[in-house]
């Protein structure tokens, strides 16, 4: 994935762990924003409001 299928060695490991770290931060921020924007509407829809 992302051309890193065969990543190994020190450089490859830095890239792989870096991708995981960046994804974790992006997901935290991204899902946080989505929750703020769409959260209330989804709760209303689910609760039948």
């Amino acid at each position: 994935m992302f051309g890193l299928e065969n990543a190994s060695g020190i450089d490859g490991a830095v890239l792989v762990v870096g991708v995981v770290l960046v994804e974790a931060i992006v997901l935290y921020v991204g899902y946080g924003l989505l929750e703020q924007v769409f959260g209330p509407a989804i709760v209303d829809a689910v609760s039948g409001k």
């Binding site: 994935m1 992302f2 051309g3 890193l4 299928e5 065969n6 990543a7 190994s8 060695g9 020190i10 490859g12 490991a13 830095v14 792989v16 762990v17 991708v19 995981v20 770290l21 994804e23 974790a24 931060i25 997901l27 935290y28 899902y31 929750e35 709760v43 689910v46 609760s47 039948g48 409001k49």
Partner: protein
């Protein structure tokens, strides 16, 4: 023709993202790390043992980073204890990794890791089911907000006995505790060994060890454990990634689904009392143990269909319990709204 995204089959990405949502929802709701279901599930799916362990460890690293961001800080951390533990844990992970590769070379890794997982999932499943049926909490999560120390009578005799060995050098920790450096390193090494060998965060061993064996207060144990997992998860992933064992086509979608599921699970705790359905969670872990055993039994007996049965059992159990969480939450939300409109009328 198979549709691909980023060079990976879209169906595989969807499978892992979906499984991630279930894992995140369950473990976000019950306040635990989900790693000890990820590695066995990957093994049940037929991945090589080192890939399952390495990818599980990378998943642990990412979820601990998100947990740290969520709490804005690591909580009450004893940094001296944390750094000492990182040293012991890193050594443990490396030994665990070497042991796994050695077992893989002689063709026994899958069997040994499977047997350990059957015992681990079975043990934790029995413990949670037992405590849930007796009305207990069944563990301490990173969301725990305890303030104090354990009462002396809560500490098991074996822990008191181990604490009484005062082999120098002695280290002074937060809260005026003095403990042997060797005990700290032994606890860290043991949990690192588990991480490196099984791909788990090890918090279910480390946290009880921190407050029972080392004697740190519960909030410090929780904060130091999270600090530990961020670093040891990162170091463990790195060590395995050097060998090319971390599979991003597993970790990336699994994490994307899990981070979403964890938000849903954490929100559901405001609506549903986790103790009411914790018994199902315990049963699900027991079914996880059964699934790993079925798969291994199928291999020995040369009955390939048991591979599919084990996959259905582990995914089905996760889907059923997370379904129960969602249904209970929706019911609670609707009754809350219904109650609000009734009283407003």
């Amino acid at each position: 023709m198979t549709m691909e995204l980023f060079g990976v089959a879209a169906s595989l990405l969807a499978l892992f993202a979906g499984f991630g949502v279930l894992i995140g929802l369950l473990f976000g709701f019950f306040g635990m790390g989900g790693s000890f279901l990820v590695t066995p599930a990957l093994m049940v799916m037929g991945y090589e043992t080192d890939v399952a362990v390495a990818s599980g460890l990378a998943f642990v690293f990412a979820t601990s980073v998100i947990a740290t961001l969520k709490h804005r800080d690591l909580g009450q951390v004893d940094y001296k204890l944390g750094v000492l533990m990182i040293a012991g844990t890193t050594a443990g992970i490396e030994v665990g990794k070497l042991g796994l590769h050695w077992l893989q070379d002689i063709g026994l890794a899958d069997t040994v890791v499977s047997v350990i997982y059957v015992a681990l999932l079975g043990g934790i499943g029995v413990f949670i089911t037992y405590t849930a049926t007796r009305g207990g909490g069944g563990g301490i999560s990173h969301d725990a907000e305890g303030e104090g120390d354990l009462d002396d009578e809560d500490i098991p005799d074996v822990a008191k006995k181990i604490q009484s060995y005062r082999i120098p050098p002695m280290m002074s920790l937060r809260g005026g505790i003095s403990v042997s450096l060797w005990l700290i390193l032994a606890v860290a090494f043991a949990t690192g060994l588990l991480s490196g060998f099984l791909g788990v965060g090890g918090g279910f061993i480390r946290m009880p060890a921190l407050f029972y064996l080392i004697g740190v207060p519960v909030p410090v144990a929780v904060g130091t454990d999270l600090f530990e997992i961020v670093f040891s998860g990162g170091i463990g992933s790195f060590l395995y990634a050097i060998d090319g064992a971390v599979d991003l086509s597993i970790v990336v979608p699994l994490l994307a689904g899990s981070a979403l599921g964890a938000r849903l699970g954490a929100s559901a705790t405001d609506l549903v009392d986790e103790d009411e359905i914790k018994v199902y969670f315990g049963v699900m872990l027991l079914l996880g143990a059964v699934a790993v055993a079925i798969r291994k039994g199928g291999e020995f007996a040369d009955v390939p269909v048991l591979q599919t049965v084990s996959l259905v059992v582990i995914l089905g159990a996760a889907a059923l319990v997370s379904g129960a969480v969602v249904v209970s939450s929706v019911r609670a939300l609707r009754s809350e709204y219904g109650y609000a409109t009734t009283t407003a009328d």
